[in-house]
């Protein structure tokens, strides 16, 4: 129970992630899905991981280009 409360506090107060989470339920695709604080923390973590991966994959091309080939070598 304490762990649940900690996570709930964490998700709601620290992350400020309360927009669609209320009384243990989220709405997705028009449906109401029961979810606990721990699942919400898992979901939040997965969202963060996904965001990090998508950003990194977008920057990878630039990183590759600039690592060994400065564009300033072009006349």
């Amino acid at each position: 129970m304490i762990a649940y409360l900690i996570l709930r506090q964490y998700v709601q107060q620290v992350l400020g992630y309360t927009d669609n989470w209320e009384n243990g339920t989220v709405y997705e695709g028009g449906s109401e899905i029961p979810i606990n604080a721990y699942q919400y923390a898992q979901k939040f973590s997965l969202d963060r991981l996904s965001e990090k991966i998508v950003n990194a994959s977008g920057m990878f091309e630039t990183y590759c280009r600039e690592r060994f080939m400065p564009l300033s070598i072009i006349e």
């Binding site: 989220v26 979810i35 973590s45 997965l46 996904s50 991966i53 300033s72």
Partner: protein, 251 residues
């Protein structure tokens, strides 16, 4: 009248360059396969590394086009206040066409060896074609040859094969990102409960990818790896330490 068949100077220099590369730059535990017949790629280099005292193939390859010169053409380019030292080398457009056809699937490095000063420089031709030639000199194909400018900081040496290791790994990183993004797109069609279930599989699948073994190459890869490990160890929750330390403040 000749007293026998003539060995051209170009062949002598070409072989000397390849021998220099093999003897002085490529580590002994890597495998070098000369491409024969040669249609523009000279060497297929397969990378190995030691794991538990055993020399294991990394499943990584780089293709090299090796060119030697006894009259190196060094120069300098200025970009605003920034000056860049380069070595220039003329390459036939037909050789570049081959690389362009290969796309980015296989990295092809041009390695130019200054046989006088015994130095080697590299540039990735796939990138050069895309980012320099096609972007800035789109009519280059109408020429017979093109001058390639290689920054002299792109050195290969006995102590520095960083670029070969990087390019060997790069295609695996591309591939991993491609797979990850496809999986992430799939996640978006799942509800939260399913997403968590598949998220755990995702983490179990990717955290041990060997591209992360050299993640010191790029800090963003290192970030992703540490997050994957954290989530694997904490049942799909990241920043668990932050959660706990924050909870002390809350209560």
């Amino acid at each position: 009248m000749n007293n026998g068949k003539i060995r051209s100077e170009a062949h002598i220099i070409g072989e000397e360059a390849i021998r220099f590369l093999q003897d002085n730059i490529i580590p002994n535990n890597w495998v070098v396969r000369p491409m024969n017949p040669d249609y523009g790629i000279d060497l297929d280099v397969e990378l190995f590394d030691y794991e538990d005292d055993k020399c294991i193939t990394l499943g990584e390859h780089v293709f090299l086009q090796v060119k030697g010169t006894r009259s190196p053409n060094y120069g300098r380019f200025a970009d605003g206040e920034k000056k860049i030292d380069v070595i220039k080398f003329s390459l036939e457009v037909s050789e570049l066409n081959l690389v362009e056809r290969m796309g980015s699937a296989f990295p092809v490095l041009l390695v130019v060896i200054d046989l006088i000063d015994k130095k080697a420089f590299h540039i990735c031709l796939n990138d050069y074609i895309k980012n320099v030639l096609l972007a800035k000199h789109s009519s280059y194909k109408e020429q017979g040859s093109v001058t390639i400018y290689i920054p002299t900081r792109n050195v290969l040496s006995t102590d520095n094969q960083e670029a070969l290791k990087w390019y060997g790994k790069r295609i695996k990183i591309y591939s991993m990102f491609h797979e990850m993004r496809a999986d992430i797109d799939d996640f978006n069609s799942f509800n939260i409960i399913e997403r968590i279930k598949y998220g755990k599989r995702f983490i179990d699948h990717y955290y041990s990818y060997d591209v992360f073994n050299q993640s010191e190459h790029w800090s963003l890869l290192e970030d992703i790896h540490s997050m994957l490990i954290q989530m694997r160890d904490n049942d799909c929750v990241s920043d668990f330490a932050t959660i706990c330390s924050t909870s002390i403040r809350i209560y």
